[in-house]
Each structure stands twice: as structure tokens, then as C-alpha cells.
Symmetry: C2
Subunit: 700 residues, 2 copies
């Protein structure tokens, strides 16, 4: 799709310059030094040749249409060049020039103008305000980012050109290779998704990585990323978390759902691996690029230093990976080959005086153990240590026994620098700490778990959609955003929720009548604006099962309470379905402006914000996802019955989340809502949506 960008046979540089330090010179020099085998056409009316290459006054004079045009002329001149590209039938343009949208209104108009010409002529544009693009395999360096990196399998895109320059420099120093590097700049036409799609189709790219500050089209991104992650890992560093900021929200869910929450939910759903720093990103990228995926989460550690082994063990425990339990056969074989003072359990300690051979035996044997899914090799440079020799034998063993991923952390600097180069060439990723290595193993394991998730099937429940339409439309017509409790409950009932039935009684006979209608057992609650703590004054009676009990309770309240609280205005007694003794949960939704409905589940009640025991996921939810939302809260332990208490029916709660998900998916007018508390009793009882708030908004 972006083939003209990545694989051009001819490249024109409009604005090429003779003057060192100028971008127009740096790009031409980068192209030449990279050894590009196609044709290079510098374009500049003021020069005949630059760096001994014939220079053209304009694109038309070249006499052919270049596959790729790189533009470095000042912002105001770009539109004219684009028009020339359109006339010549050029299909791929990179605009390096800055001074567009990023500088304000005038620049925004210039950018619009340029892109309009491009769209009409079917030209795809990368940039403006970018660093360019690099394809090491094709010796194409149409950038001013630095030296051509080595060929590798990481495809990288960056929304920040300046960072890409630093990344290139770091990668070159560490011999990290790339398939493609693209600086996407202002994303006026080609955006992050276009590049990710292209890298997904690209056979040379094994890992997609990128630095982003925002995502242009949230919904489309989720769909594409989810499909692509199934094939290739996507590692993104998303900066700009502080953008969350303050936000007016009328629901618990809204107040807890920042933009960060949305990104996390989106990345989890789409299998995208979030990187919290560039260092972590390259740690992960090397793991994915060099090694096979682990089949499980058990790790064997081989070390020549007890301390390093403990550090790895700590990291493995903290990350909830498993410390592999070595088989008896493995221990037996290790004992045969290693000195008696060595440790044959995990971590396998080959001792401080270990030469390469002990590492070789240990890795060879560990890889054979069916209980081991991946191996982490640690080395500190001690007096006897042969770091280079060890690196060589490790590379050999890994080549001989592929299938399980092997990671290394050779600690130190000068003393391991050559060993590290050998490991890198042998495709064993090497980390500057045991912690960084363990985190990479964790991330790869999580990716495997994500890929193995069941197929997403969203269940559709039979509901009364028409009823909800009526309520929502009336509110929108009347300009009332907040739907009241009574109608909120009607909406929920239409989607299969049970809400408590109740009515106010003024006499004991009325109370009995209501109870007969809504069904026993019932609760009686004194109804007075002046009494806040009803049970303190004997104003709550639960579990009333007969008409006699209802009558007695009613009369006792009416008799006693006025004596206790003489000034309270008593409006009657509320007769209400008795909710089974249950746990107070919250189900909610907040519609993220970029990614749509974000479902929330957690511990309910008035303390939702205080306890913050909630989980988020993008709607529509599958049964699996709904269940996962439950599992990822602390409240879950309480639901399944901690400390001998009876548990609740998890599937029933998960179904409620799915029904809510269906409601908010079918009604995009619903902006945010809470069901709080959602009261859930023991197995066999029906949960009740005790209270609910829904806010709707006209669709734009």
C-alpha cells in the first residue's frame, strides 16, 4: 500500500542544498552515504550539481516521474511543488518542512491547501514536519536522522522526529536493526494506522514499535490493531498521560475513567503492548525480534553469582512469573556435569569460577527440561570469567536447540562489551539488568496469553429496545440530559435487569396491599425527609413475610417514631421488595471521546472513588471479557466467597455487564451511567439494580 515509499526506484529531493548543516543537504548526503541503488534527483534551481550529482531546476525537468519525492523547501513553497507532483503523476511524497499545523492557524491553512492538492491527485503524503523515512534493506535513508541503521526486523514509527533521532543513535550504538523507520510528523495524510497496517503486511517486519502522542481514529485503530496483534506484536509508547486533567463528570464511572484508562482498555483489548519508556520498548522489541515466544510462564535461571540469581528470583516473583521447578532428570544431569558445590536447583548456580563449558552444559540441559519455558542467563565478570567464550557457546546451543526463548543479562560494562556484541549477533537479547530481562519475559508471556484468548463472541440478548428509544428520545427532545431514577430503572428493566419494586403506604392496610402485590418478603422503611439514619430510630424492619408482620411493623413505626423524633415530618412508610442479603457492586459506562463506551465494574456503594477497586474494558463485551473485568478487581475474591462466606453467581454478574454493554452499544446517545448499588446475593437469587443514573446527549 505504501510501497512507493518503502521501495522506490527513484527519489527526488526538492530543496536539496549544497550547504552543509542545511536539511536539504543532510538528506541528500544521507541518501548518498546509505548507498541507495536507485536514481537520486536533487532539485534546486540554483545549482547544477550537488555532491557530483546532476541537479534539476524543477521536478518537470527530470523528464520522468520519480517514485518518491522528498520536499524540504520552505512551507509557503510546498503547495507549488505538490501541484507539480500532481501534474507529473507522482504518488508518494514526504514533506520534511515544518511550519504547518504545529505553528498555528496560518500553518493549518497551508497544510490543508497542500493536502487538498494531494487528495485530488491521489498522492499519499508523509508529514509535514517530520524527519523522513528509512528502509535499511533498500539502503534508503530519506531522512536527516543520522546514519543508516543495520537491517533488522523491527518496524518503527514515531510522532516525534527529535526522539527518532535519539532512537536511531541508540540503536546504531547497540547494533539494533530495523526493517523500516518512519517519522509521521503532523500526520496530515498518512497516519499511525496507515504505517501500522503497512508494517503488518510487510514480510521484513516481525515487530511493530512506535512512539505516539495521540491516536487519530480511535475506533478504527482498535479494530486494526486487534487483528494485527494476532500476527505480530505491536509495542507502543504512548506519551502525554498528563493530558487526563480535570473533567466534569456526573457519574462515578465518569470521574474514575481518565483518558489513560481508555488507552489501557484499548491496548488490552487490541493486544497492544504498552511501553512506559523507550528503554523498555527496545528491551521488549529485542525479545520479540530475536527469540521465539515462550509456551508458558516458567523461567529457569543460570548464574555465576548468587546475588544476581536472587535479583532475578525477586523480579520473577514480583512479576508473577513462575520459577521453573526442574525435573529430577535435569538435576541428575546437572549434577553429572557441574562441580558438587554448584546449585542444581533453580537458579542453577554454576559458581564464580565457571568457564564457558559449565554455562554450555547448564543451558543445554535446562532447554531439555519440559518444565522450563524460557531460560535467563546471568553473568558477572569475575576473576576467572570468560565472558566472550561463554557468549559464543550460548549462541551455539541456542542455534542447536531452538524453540524456547533464551535471554541474557551480562552485568558490567567494558568486561562484557565484546560478549554482548557476540550475543547480539547470535540473536540472544541481552539486558542491562536481571529485572529488565524478567520484565521482557513477562511481556512476551502476556502476549502469548492474549493471542490464545478465545474468539470474541458478543452475545445479543432479547431486549425491549423500543421502550428505551421512547425514553431517550423524549429526554433529548426536551433537552434534559439526566434521566431520573424511575425512568433509568425502566430502561434497565427493558434490558433484562430487575429493579426493586416499592410504593409508599399511609395505612397498615395499604402497606399489606402493596406487599401482596410486590410479593413477600418485604422491607418497611419510614419515609421522612427529616430522618437520615432510619434504623437508629427503629425506622427499618426487614424480612417481613406475612400480612400480620407488615401490619404490626407499620403500626409500631407510626406509634414509636413520632415519640422519638417529634419534629420529623413523616410522609408514610415505604414498602419495598426485600433484596437478598448481598454485596454492593457498581456497573457503569463512560463514553470516551476517542474510543467509545468504556465499561466499569467494581465495588459499589458510596465509597467507589475512595476504594477505587474498579476495572475498565471497552464495550461491546464478550462473556470472557466481562468475567475478566470481575477477576481483575480485589472485590472478586469477596464475590467468590472469601473466608468461608457463601459466594455469588459470577456468571449472573458477568451477564449483567454484557447486558449493560449491549444497552450502551445500541444507544450511543448514552454518555455515562452508573448502576450503584447493583445488589448481588448468593447463588440462585436474582441481583437487583437498586439505583441508577443515566446521562444522554444528542449525537453530533
Amino acid at each position: 500500500m505504501l510501497d512507493k515509499f518503502f521501495n522506490p526506484k527513484s527519489v527526488a529531493i526538492v530543496g536539496a542544498s549544497r550547504q552543509k548543516g542545511k536539511v536539504g543537504y543532510e538528506i541528500l548526503k544521507s541518501m548518498i552515504e546509505a548507498g541507495f541503488s536507485g536514481k537520486i534527483f536533487p532539485v534546486n534551481p540554483q545549482s547544477d550539481t550537488i555532491e557530483n550529482i546532476k541537479c534539476y531546476p524543477d521536478l518537470t525537468s527530470i523528464g520522468q516521474s520519480p517514485d518518491l519525492v522528498v520536499i524540504v523547501v520552505p512551507a509557503k513553497a510546498v503547495a507549488n511543488v505538490m501541484q507539480e507532483c500532481a501534474n507529473l503523476g507522482v504518488k508518494a511524497v514526504v514533506i520534511i518542512t515544518a511550519g504547518f499545523k504545529e505553528v498555528g492557524e496560518e500553518g493549518r491553512k497551508l497544510e490543508q491547501q497542500v493536502i487538498q492538492i494531494a487528495r485530488q491527485a491521489g498522492i499519499r503524503v508523509i508529514g509535514p514536519n517530520c524527519l523522513g523515512l528509512i528502509v535499511p534493506k533498500n539502503k534508503l535513508n530519506a531522512s536527516f536522522g543520522g546514519t543508516l541503521p543495520v537491517v533488522g526486523s523491527i518496524g518503527y514509527l514515531s510522532q516525534s522526529g527529535a526522539l527518532l533521532a535519539a532512537i536511531l543513535d541508540m540503536a546504531n550504538a547497540n547494533g539494533i536493526g530495523f526493517s523500516k523507520l518512519v517519522s509521521i510528523g503532523n500526520k496530515a495524510d498518512v497516519d499511525e494506522l496507515d504505517i501500522i497496517d503497512a508494517l503488518a503486511e510487510d514480510d521484513d517486519t516481525k515487530v511493530i514499535a512506535g512512539y505516539l502522542e495521540n491516536i487519530t481514529d480511535g475506533n478504527t485503530f482498535v479494530g486494526h490493531a486487534e487483528r494485527i496483534s494476532q500476527k505480530k506484536p505491536i509495542l507502543l509508547m504512548k506519551a502525554g498521560v498528563s493530558a487526563a486533567g480535570a473533567k466534569a463528570a456526573s457519574s462515578h464511572t465518569g470521574s474514575l475513567a481518565g483518558s489513560e484508562t481508555a488507552y489501557e482498555a484499548v491496548f488490552e483489548r487490541a493486544g497492544v503492548i504498552r511501553c512506559l519508556s523507550l528503554n523498555a520498548q527496545f528491551d521488549f522489541a529485542q525479545g520479540f525480534a530475536y527469540q521465539p515466544l515462550p509456551k508458558g510462564n516458567s523461567v529457569a535461571v543460570i548464574t555465576n553469582a548468587g546475588g544476581a540469581g536472587i535479583m532475578a528470583a525477586d523480579a520473577i516473583e514480583k512479576l508473577h512469573l513462575t520459577f521453573a521447578k526442574l525435573s529430577d532428570e535435569t538435576k541428575h544431569r546437572l549434577a553429572e556435569k557441574l562441580p558438587p558445590a554448584a546449585n542444581f536447583h533453580n537458579p542453577i548456580d554454576v559458581l564464580g569460577d565457571a568457564l564457558a563449558d559449565r554455562y554450555e552444559f547448564a543451558l543445554d540441559i535446562a532447554l531439555d527440561d519440559p518444565n522450563v519455558n524460557s531460560v535467563l542467563i546471568l553473568l558477572t565478570p569475575q576473576a576467572m570469567t570468560d565472558a566472550e567464550g561463554t557468549a559464543k557457546v550460548l549462541v551455539d546451543v541456542v542455534k542447536r536447540k531452538p524453540g524456547k526463548p533464551v535471554f541474557a543479562s551480562f552485568l558490567g560494562a567494558e568486561k562484557v562489551v565484546r560478549a554482548n556484541a557476540i550475543l547480539r549477533e547470535g540473536k540472544i537479547p541481552n539486558y542491562d539488568s536481571p529485572e529488565a530481562a524478567a520484565l521482557t519475559i513477562k511481556v512476551m508471556t502476556e502476549y502469548v496469553r492474549w493471542r490464545a484468548r478465545p474468539k470474541r463472541i458478543v452475545r445479543l440478548f432479547p431486549v425491549n429496545r423500543h421502550k428505551v428509544e421512547t425514553i431517550v428520545e423524549r429526554h433529548l427532545r426536551q433537552g434534559v440530559g439526566q434521566i431520573g431514577e424511575a425512568e433509568s430503572k425502566e430502561i434497565l428493566e427493558a434490558y433484562g435487569f430487575v429493579t426493586p419494586k416499592d410504593a409508599i403506604a399511609n395505612t397498615a392496610e395499604q402497606a399489606v396491599n402493596i406487599a401482596e402485590q410486590i410479593g413477600y418478603p418485604v422491607v418497611l422503611k419510614i419515609w421522612s425527609p427529616d430522618i437520615i439514619h432510619k434504623s437508629d430510630v427503629g425506622g427499618v424492619r426487614v424480612g417481613l413475610e406475612t400480612s400480620q408482620e407488615v401490619m404490626d411493623a407499620f403500626d409500631l413505626m407510626m406509634f414509636r417514631i413520632p415519640k422519638k423524633v417529634p419534629n420529623a415530618k413523616i410522609l408514610g412508610v415505604l414498602v419495598q421488595t426485600m433484596c437478598s442479603r448481598g454485596k454492593e457492586l457498581i456497573l457503569g459506562m463512560h463514553r470516551d471521546p476517542h474510543f467509545g463506551p468504556l465499561m466499569m465494574f467494581g465495588m459499589g456503594g458510596t465509597m467507589v472513588e475512595v476504594m477505587q477497586d474498579v476495572s475498565f474494558y471497552l464495550a461491546p463485551l464478550t462473556a470472557e471479557e466481562a468475567k475478566q473485568m470481575l477477576v481483575s478487581t480485589r472485590t472478586y475474591k469477596l464475590l467468590i466467597g472469601a473466608r468461608g462466606q457463601q459466594g455469588v453467581d459470577i456468571d449472573v454478574v458477568a451477564e449483567a455487564l454484557q447486558r449493560l454493554s449491549q444497552l450502551v452499544t445500541e444507544f450511543p446517545e448514552i454518555q455515562e451511567m452508573d448502576i450503584n448499588p447493583f445488589m448481588v446475593g448468593p447463588q440462585g437469587t436474582t441481583p437487583v439494580a437498586v439505583d441508577a443514573r443515566i446521562r444522554v446527549e444528542k449525537l453530533k
Copy 2:
């Protein structure tokens, strides 16, 4: 105290060898290459000279008592050498040799024997099983760890020799300097605390850092470390978290308090800065060693790349540092000096084409702003960037304007390598990511906060200590570890806690009598082993205020409940003080085997383990610390009255924690205890210890 180790005029190496690769050779070579100016005496009966230095057959033949003796002979020969040291009046010995306690029982005996000789002769011993010691300033490298590092102000101790070798290698590659480096090995005599004490007194040491796997004497450690941290920061990497393991505990507190919790509490109390990796440790150490402490937590960022600025802003927000709000004057001055497209707000963006001058202006101006406590400077190597020139001017500005700490993160590798060296020489710490720099600023800010904490004053409450003695002693005499609920409450009452009064009534008249005695209002609860959910069967009546209400309630229960639950055996009705409507908290203590009583506070009830909203701190508690324990839970928001609810009296809860702290400090026999729930009502009410468990053990 350890002066003979750090500043010897003569060093003997017993077991020095001519054979390359042997430890006895490597140490001698290290001594010579370091350029040690004192006398070196190789001791080996098989050689006349080694490396052109006269070699002695034994220590006695030297004819003088060396200040420091380094022993590298085989383990079995060490005792004889030690005896010789004793005879010669040697006072400082480093035993490099391995094969002692770490290899099992036989080695342990050898070690005991050696140490016994040393103790009798007043010899201090570092090791055995260690890498040696290094003092760069004195050109003393009595180790086989590698080249002598440069002189600096970091004092380092390591329980792992192998890690120290890696650390040395990394430090040498990065030009990080040390005052002293000590490998403490098996800690047979000199332990971590001896070294920390010595480094505290050492004028050349500004920062104490170390790698530890355990702490020998927990109680003493806390006291010393707390005193020392007030003068110099102590940065420790404590490995071995997985040791927590499974542990039988009869209290909530015990089951939540792992050994990790104890270390965290100890480090917090003593101001020790915990490092989660060696990289983090050196990041922090450089900050403390090179720069002054920040006076507050507001940070200004200067960058030539928007993306890097965003990464720093994200990190600053996540770490709860403050993004400095620049004064109008600062913005005005920046606008005068920088191009109009630059950003004069924080982060100050000097733009991608910035040369050194813009960085110079920006730093100079930022340091003048009273709203700025520290400055973080970011640079990515772009086409125009002059990394070296920038580093130079930054160093100049920092020299000219000391007082506020300045940190740098020059991203990239080859293109910034020389700039990084300039920064290092100019004592500006440089970090490989904005995140690492921000974390260092955070850690330094927290250290400043710790140092400024109020003086620790532990309040002593008047209590009935004798009563508790009686109960505890009887239990210990009878071999009963678990103190029952009734006596646990008596103990608490003796320390000023209020517990609910109650008694079982069998008739309505008895119920009224009990109520009159304990005082209205009361609660009635049906008392039957067969009824679990009492309120479901009408078995709970709260807020009874008159004898009439008590009688009615009693009779109704006795009349109705047998009809509802015919088979339940009813033992009477419990009449109990009505606890004010309150919040259920937990107060507890678990005695850590190393560090003593660890207090716990948190949300109570049966779900303590599920919610895990608890905080720990070492007893005895000051009022400040008790309050801090409350503040550091989520429950705190609930206590101070979230969402319009009435708050509780925080001081009353803090006092209860202090009283409990006094109890467990005065009774070391108390191994663990819970007060759960500790019921706390609104301001003005007295909290009630509703239930309690105490376990005691004979002191060893």
C-alpha cells in the same frame, strides 16, 4: 574505627602468588597497579620475589606488624595465619578465601575457629568469602574486583562479591567515583552496620550505598541508620524478597505482614532509600553525590524536543512531583532571549535547532525563578544540535549558580557520548531516560521530606500494666498461647481501650437488668449456635432505649424465632452496648523476628485480606507516625468524611494506635494481635474495640 582497613601504611598479602589468574596473584597485581604508596609485603614460602617485590616466607619474617593483612591461603590454613596475626599484634585482616560458612557445617566450624582467635586478639576481620576492599583516594586496591575506580564520594558495601565486580566494571566505564568499596562476604566479624557506621564518620563519603541480602541485627540497624540518614543518604538494594514465603499466622496482621513489609517499614522509619535495581541505585547515588538537595518538589524542564518534554511531564505527574509554574518575570526573560516559536512555559522548549546559547539562557533564567526547585535538561541529538557545547555551558551555569539541583538526560548514544563525559566531569548527573531522571528527583525530594520530619516523641500513657502482666503470665505458665476474647478485652481496657459490655439473658427481666447495668441504648441479639444470619430471622434489634423496648424485643424474639427456625437450639439473648454507627477499622501488630513489633492499621471487618488496604510502621509510634499510618491508606479518605459524610476524630484513632504500640512495646511476649473491628463513630463518640485476638509466647 576501621581506619587500619581504609588507611593502612603497610599491607601484607598472605598467599600471594606468581601464577596469573590465581587470586593471590590478582590481588598483588591490583595493589601494585593502583600505585599504593605504602609498603606491600607478599607472603609465600615458595617464592623469593613476586613482580619484583621481595616475598616473605611468613608474616613473622617481615620484621614488623603490617597495618592490614589480606589472607588468600586455602580455608584450612587460615586459622594458622590468624594466629600469627594475633602474635604479631595485627589489628585488621581481610579474608578473601572462600570455603567457610557458605559451604556447610564443616566450613562453619572453621569460620568459628578463625573468628575466635581474632576476637581474643582484638583483630577486626572483613570476610571471609569476599572480594576485598578498595579505597581509591589512598590508591588501595586490596581486591580482585578489577581496576581502581576514580575518586568520588560514594561509599559502597556489598554482600555479593560477584556483583561488586560487575558494579566496578560499570562504574569504571561511566567514570563514577567512590570513596570506599567493601565486599563484606560472610560478615563473620565486620558486618554491614560496622561499614555503614564507618562510612557515616568518613569525611570523604557523601553517599552510602550498598547491596544486602539480609541484615544481621535488625534493632540496632534501625537506630544507627536513622541517626546516619539525618546526615547522609543511605541507598540500599535489599535482594531476596521471595524469602517471604508461606507462614502460619493466626491474625490478619500476621498474614499480611511479610518480611518485605518489615523491610519497607524499617527503611521508611530509618530514612533509608530503597533501590529496586542496581541501575536505579547508581542513578540515585549520582544525584545525591553531585548535586545539592532540592528545597521542594517543583521541577522545571528544558528540552529541544517536544516528545522528550512530554515524557518528562508524564513521569513528573506519575511520581506526584510538581511541574513548576514559571513566574511572569521568568516567562518575560525567556521571551527576550529565545525565538518566538519557543515555549516559555514549562517545559521550556528551546526548539530543535537550539545551539548551546539557548540552553544557557534557559537554565540561567530557570534557576533564578523562586518557583523552581530543580531543573531537568533534556536533549536529543538533532541535525543542528551541539551536544558538547551545550554540556559545557550547562556545567558553567551550574558552577556559577549553585544551590538548586540540575539533572540532565541527553538521549542517544554515540552522538552524546562526549557531551555525557563533560556533564559527568562537571558533576551534572546524566540519565539515560527522562523517567530515570525524574525518579531521582523524586527520591531526593522524599529524602528531604524525611529529614525535615518532626522530632520523634513517643507519648507514654498511664496504663494498668500489672493487670496485663497477670493475664500474660498465667497464659504463659499454662502454655496457652492464644488469649481468649474476654481476657484480650481486659488487656485492652487496661491500656485505655473501651470494649463493648454484654451478657446473656434468659428472661425479659434479666435482659432489662443487664441493660440497666451496661447503660442504654442496647442491642439484643438472639444467641444460638444454629442461627448464622441473625437478622434474617428477626434476631437482631438495635437502638433499644427503655426497659419496655427491651422487654418487648426479648419476648417477640423468643416467640417468633422458634416458629421460623424450629430446630435451632436457643441459648438466650445477648444484651450488648450499642456501638455508635461507625466505621470498621483494624488495628494490629505482628512481631517481626528481625525488627520487632510491626504495627498495622487499615480497613477492618472480615474482608481485611481481600481489601488489603492496610499500612505498617515500626513500634513504638509517635503521634505523627500514627497519623501517617492512617493517611497512607485509602480508608483515610473515608475517615475524614468522603462525599459529604461526617468524618471521625482522626486524633482519637491515632491515639489508639499509640496505646497499642505502647502495649506491644511493654510486652514483648505479645507475638501478634488484632483489634478487629475497631469501631469508630463520629466526632465526640468513643471508639470501641469490638473484638480482639492476642497471641503470646515465652521469651527466649
